[in-house]
């Protein structure tokens, strides 16, 4: 993997009591308001930002985690450490980070705010394992953390030379002064021409006379009206960006969205040219809530481009559109808890490349919904996708209000989802079928899932009776029926099923047969017949219809729903 921040640990700083998260090459920080996304970036700035003045590194009592009582009196320390990996094949980075190793492939830089022996608080920033190796301003400049400023003022900044991202790009060139003075000469001719237009000329005289009569000759100034300065230095500064090829449409006339895109493009161009010219060894880009004022489609386009860059990137976002295009391992979920904000990261997600691709596609298609969910109900397919929310409604539970998303694995391979949700610390329950008839029964699949977290438990469960296993699975948030969803619901809702088949226009002889089948669902043949008939309509279509009726909820489903709701409430 190329150069990146591989781990961040924060102690006693603002939201964080004792945080430690693994990071991927790119980091997308999500989490509800107040969970500490901005403070995470601030913590990084303490260590890495060369533009942060040292006075800002002297913290105050209120910068300590608020779970500490009188932290400064009790000599508490604030520690932020950042670990890097992926620099071993780059000589320039080795030159810098080689001094700060903590193991054969990892370098670490630490900010420490502590009381000295005179009991005054001071800070040090050091590299490596212990504090002998100073990480000074010069090194911070070599591997800078650059914060992309918020986009709110893009239009204003673009129109002012001093703040314009165009300025550093143009200043890179060394202009030939004689060329410029020729230009200035030409401009001067034009200027005089305009000044000589009789109307302009007379206005000029009027202004000067008026000033003179107001303040007298001593205080008066002589004004003139013209276009642009002919001073060669000022000539460059008067360069502006226009948003069409005829130099007529000014920035202010363009929509905010386009302004922002322009602004980001110029900033990135500047960073990239700095990288190319090797003015900096490596740049770490941090962006806070970049979605502001960007149209959803632009968000996806702009950040897809960002994620393709090789340099490390850290951004905080509430935008599903950005999350939906994020690499799956880049997500970090910050969650408020009583003992400070905890961080959950998918960086170490142990799933195959194919599974990564599938998961990324799922998240893209669902606009990152599960990442923002407070809880997830994992189900097998489309039928549950229609029915589970309906059952919740019948139980008088509002899934949306509780922040619960129903997510279909489109099959029975829950493993990548389970690993992903576990890594991000998102609570979830699984609703699945026992499928005793097929080779990989639900029992086996569930045992495999449990093995992911507890090998021993899985081995013990294996020896229990089937009915006991089903009960035991619930301790691992798996709610399984004994056979299939349709059989479970059908048994409880015979009449509604018949009504649905009727809705789809099934002939009366078929309905009779279905009635018999529904009454004898303990028989294999009956279940098979029922399923064939449902599949003729389509499982999803049937479930969709079913959901419009009042239904009796199978116990395992209501338990699953109640359990996830309770879980979220308690956390």
């Amino acid at each position: 993997m190329p150069f990146h921040i591989s781990k961040v640990s924060i102690q006693n700083y603002r939201n964080f009591h004792d945080l430690s998260v693994d990071l991927f090459q790119k980091t997308v920080l999500v989490g509800e308001n107040g969970s500490g996304k901005s403070n995470f970036i601030n913590a990084l700035r303490l260590v890495l930002d060369p533009s942060l003045p040292d006075t800002e590194r002297y913290l105050e009592e209120r910068d300590f985690w608020n779970g500490l009582s009188s932290p400064m009196q009790n000599k508490k320390e604030i520690i932020v450490s950042v670990e890097f990996q992926g620099f071993l094949d780059n000589d320039s980075m080795l030159c810098i980070l080689g001094d700060f190793l903590i193991s054969e492939d990892t370098a670490r830089v630490t900010y420490r705010y502590f009381p000295n022996n005179r009991n005054e608080y001071e800070f040090i920033i050091f590299g490596g394992l212990e504090g002998e190796n100073n990480f000074d301003y010069r090194v911070r400049k070599d591997i800078p953390l650059q914060i992309l400023p918020p986009l709110r003022n893009a239009e204003h900044d673009l129109s002012q030379w001093r703040r314009s991202p165009l300025k550093p790009l143009i200043n890179r060139f060394k202009f030939d002064n004689t060329d410029l003075s020729d230009l200035a000469e030409n401009l001067n001719v034009l200027r005089n021409t305009i000044g000589n237009i009789p109307e302009i000329n007379s206005l000029q005289t009027q202004i000067n006379t008026r000033i003179n009569s107001m303040v007298g000759e001593n205080y008066s100034v002589n004004t003139s009206i013209g276009i642009g300065s002919t001073d060669t230095a000022k000539l460059i500064k008067s360069l502006r960006l226009y948003v069409d090829e005829h130099l007529t449409r000014e920035i202010g006339e363009e929509s905010l969205g386009i302004c922002n895109v322009l602004y980001i493009a110029l900033l990135m161009l500047n960073i990239e040219s700095q990288e190319q010219l090797k003015e900096i060894v490596a740049i770490i880009l941090a962006i806070e809530e970049p979605e502001a004022h960007l149209h959803p489609h632009l968000q996806r386009l702009v950040y897809r481009d960002f994620f393709l860059r090789t340099s490390p990137l850290i951004l905080t976002t509430h935008s599903p559109h950005i999350v939906s295009v994020s690499p799956i391992k880049s997500l970090v979920n910050l969650k408020k808890t009583k003992s400070g904000t905890r961080g959950f990261s998918s960086a170490q997600l142990d799933i195959s490349l194919q599974q990564i691709q599938d998961l990324e596609r799922y998240i893209d298609a669902t606009r990152g919904e599960i990442v923002f969910a407070k809880g997830v109900i994992l189900v097998e397919g489309i039928a549950e996708l229609y029915l589970v929310p309906r059952f919740a409604e019948i139980l008088e539970i509002d899934l949306d209000a509780s922040g619960i998303t129903v997510c279909s694995a489109h099959g029975t391979d829950f493993k990548p989802y389970v690993k992903f949700l576990n890594s991000l610390g998102i609570p979830f329950v699984i609703i699945t079928d026992g499928d005793p008839e097929i080779q990989h029964t639900g029992y086996n699949r569930c045992l495999k899932l449990i093995r992911l977290t507890n090998e021993n438990a899985a081995l013990k469960f294996e020896k229990c009776s089937k009915s006991l296993q089903i009960q035991l699975f619930t301790y691992y948030n798996i709610y399984m029926n004994e056979s299939t969803l349709e059989k479970e619901i059908g048994t409880l809702n015979k009449d509604t099923f018949l009504q649905c088949f009727n809705d789809f226009g099934k002939r009366s002889d078929t309905l009779t047969k279905l009635d018999t089948a529904l009454n004898t669902l303990t028989k294999k043949d009956s279940v098979t017949y029922l399923l064939t008939k449902i599949e003729e309509i389509g499982k999803g279509r049937f479930a969709q219809r079913l959901a419009s009726y009042d239904l009796i909820t199978p116990k395992y489903i209501s338990k699953a729903i109640q359990s996830i709701v309770k879980w979220i409430k308690n956390s």
Binding site: R57, C95, E132
Partner: protein, 562 residues
């Protein structure tokens, strides 16, 4: 690249030009390392390079090989590969080492082992030609464990661990990334461990080596050096050798004479490239009345002769063998009111930080200008010391520390030397800062000694601040130094007394070529005149030895008057 350079061929100049040229090409953050063997050379290098406009920055290393081992190997990688070492590393002072050594003698019962013997064994361990015996191995283990018990390491540990680190591929990778060029001055002084480090750089990394040295001037056998190492490097398939044969110092007569003493196995073809190539003289003086009489002769006849030739005292050096000689010479010079100075000042030890104190004195007296010494450099050294002592220097307290340092050093330069040095040391708490830094036991001692020696009725009570700063009296005194320490220096005239068989060559190592090299080094210091004196007998430990003149003198006489 190996540059084999004879005496007076401009080794240091060559190296400085090479460094400046390389730094035109090497771009930040990469740099280069230039290591030398002692602090004197480091200071000279820095001064020269500074004059040529070099700005020190990250990854430009100019220092001793030992400090390279410390700062570039042990400090960044030690904790990773040797987690059991006592970090932060403290280097044992000579006293501590001696204490551990004696305790080890006591514990093992091996009383015949000497400190020097132990050091040589430790240094030579990695030389395949060297056989270490079991007793010694046991003894060393005991000594080391005693040292570790005190949570300290010594200089031999430092190089040993540095070599072990250098064998790690990751370390090689990082060092060669930082330093695409590695330059070594005085290669002939390297011991086997440091030589191994260079060989690893040469064979396992992309770092290019530039070594400058002269195997004929290898005179540090007692520290583990051996001319065969530079030979080996020069013969290595990955190096190419350049010979510098022009001598810009000595007249031809001295060059020819020196080669008779040296008796090299291959001809050297050294040529004098001076305005006075055909001038100059080798004077061999037979003074039968013994060593002390030779010194009187020097005072009564030789120095006046040299003055007649209009050589000033500071261009004259008197070279001797060892401390015993110095003890005989100094009272005679003092009695005759001959002013002298040691190249390493004999009156106090000029360690790195004592020199820094000298620079402070010079800056204070020089009214802060025209001395080539800048306040920002003085204060940088100080802030660095403070950091080492565990004080974190940041924007806010940085200014405070600088102001404090300024106030202390500019205050009251009109005090006498003792008051001055005492007040500076007290106000800045120099000794406690050095102690906390942990790496300067010898510096602590040097400061303590300096203060003590300059107090009333002590040997240095008469020294003035001007003298300490290197102004005034220094310029009209002759140089008194050992043959060993004369390496790298040059004078118009050099006087070497006491050339008796048994003294030089030493009776224990009559056939050791190093004895020839030692004399050769002293003999090639002068530009124009060299005086050698002998009596044919000498006194040592209360006994008279009559073994005739040194064989080198006989050889010289034979070739000069065939």
């Amino acid at each position: 690249m190996v540059i084999l350079a004879g005496p007076g061929s401009g080794k240091t100049a060559t190296l400085t030009v090479k460094i400046m040229t390389l730094l035109q090409e090497i771009k930040y953050p990469q740099g280069l390392a230039c290591v030398t063997f002692n602090n004197d050379a480091v200071i000279e290098f820095r001064d020269r390079l500074k004059k040529m406009g070099l700005q020190l920055r990250r990854n430009i290393f100019l220092g001793t090989f030992h400090s390279f081992c410390m700062w570039d190997l042990l400090r960044p990688f030690g904790r990773i590969y040797f987690p059991n070492l006592p970090f932060p590393l403290k280097i044992a002072s000579n006293e501590v080492r001696l204490k551990c050594f004696k305790k080890a003698q006591e514990l093992t019962g091996y009383s015949s082992i000497t400190m020097n013997g132990m050091q040589i064994s430790r240094r030579k361990k990695c030389d395949t030609d060297f056989q270490i015996n079991k007793t010694m191995e046991k003894f060393i283990l005991c000594y080391i464990s005693l040292l570790r018990h005190l949570k300290m390491i010594d200089f031999d540990d430092l190089t040993e661990f540095a070599l072990k680190l250098m064998q790690k591929p990751l370390v090689q990778k990082i060092i060669s990334a930082k330093y695409p060029w590695f330059l070594i001055d005085e290669y002939q002084d390297l011991g086997p461990i440091l030589h191994q480090i260079v060989i690893i750089l040469l064979t396992c990394t992309n770092t290019k080596i530039c070594a400058v040295g002269d195997m004929d001037q290898s005179i540090y056998k007692f520290m583990g050096a051996d001319p065969k190492y530079i030979q080996e490097l020069s013969n290595h398939e990955k190096t190419r050798t350049i010979h510098l044969r022009l001598n810009y110092r000595c007249c031809q007569k001295i060059i020819d004479g020196s080669l008779i003493i040296l008796q090299p196995s291959e001809t050297r073809e050294y040529v004098s490239r001076t305005d006075y190539a055909n001038a100059g003289e080798i004077k061999i003086e037979y003074k039968p009345k013994g060593f002390n009489y030779q010194i009187k002769e020097i005072i009564d006849n030789i120095l006046p002769q040299l003055h007649n030739l209009s050589f000033s005292d500071r261009e004259i050096a008197l070279l001797y063998l060892d401390e015993t000689d110095a003890k005989k010479i100094i009272p005679i010079l003092n009695a005759a009111k001959i002013k002298f100075q040691g190249s390493r000042d004999l009156r106090y030890k000029r360690t790195f930080y004592i020199r820094w104190l000298e620079s402070i004195a010079k800056w204070v007296l020089g009214h802060r200008g025209g001395t080539g010494i800048y306040f920002h450099e003085l204060v940088k050294t100080w802030l660095y010391l403070l950091e080492l002592a565990g004080k974190s220097i940041n924007t806010t307290n940085r200014l405070k520390e600088i102001q404090n340092f300024y106030r202390v050093i500019v205050s009251r330069p009109n005090l006498n030397f003792y008051q001055w040095v005492e007040s500076i040391a007290r106000s800045l708490k120099i000794i406690s800062v050095l102690k906390k830094g942990g790496q300067f036991p010898d510096e602590v001692k040097a400061f303590r000694t300096l203060i003590k020696q300059s107090s009333p009725n002590q040997p240095l009570a008469e020294i003035t601040l001007e003298e300490f700063a290197g102004y005034g009296k220094h310029s009209d005194s002759i140089t008194l130094t050992t043959l060993h320490s004369s390496k790298g220096l040059e004078f118009d005239a050099v006087i070497i007394p006491g050339l008796e068989q048994g003294r030089l060559p030493h009776y224990k190592s009559i056939d050791d070529p190093e004895e020839r090299r030692k004399f050769y080094v002293g003999f090639t210091r002068p530009r124009k005149y060299v005086y050698v004196l002998y009596s044919g007998w000498y006194e040592a430990y209360g006994k008279i030895y009559e073994k005739g003149p040194s064989q080198f003198i006989t050889e010289l006489l034979d070739s000069l008057n065939p």
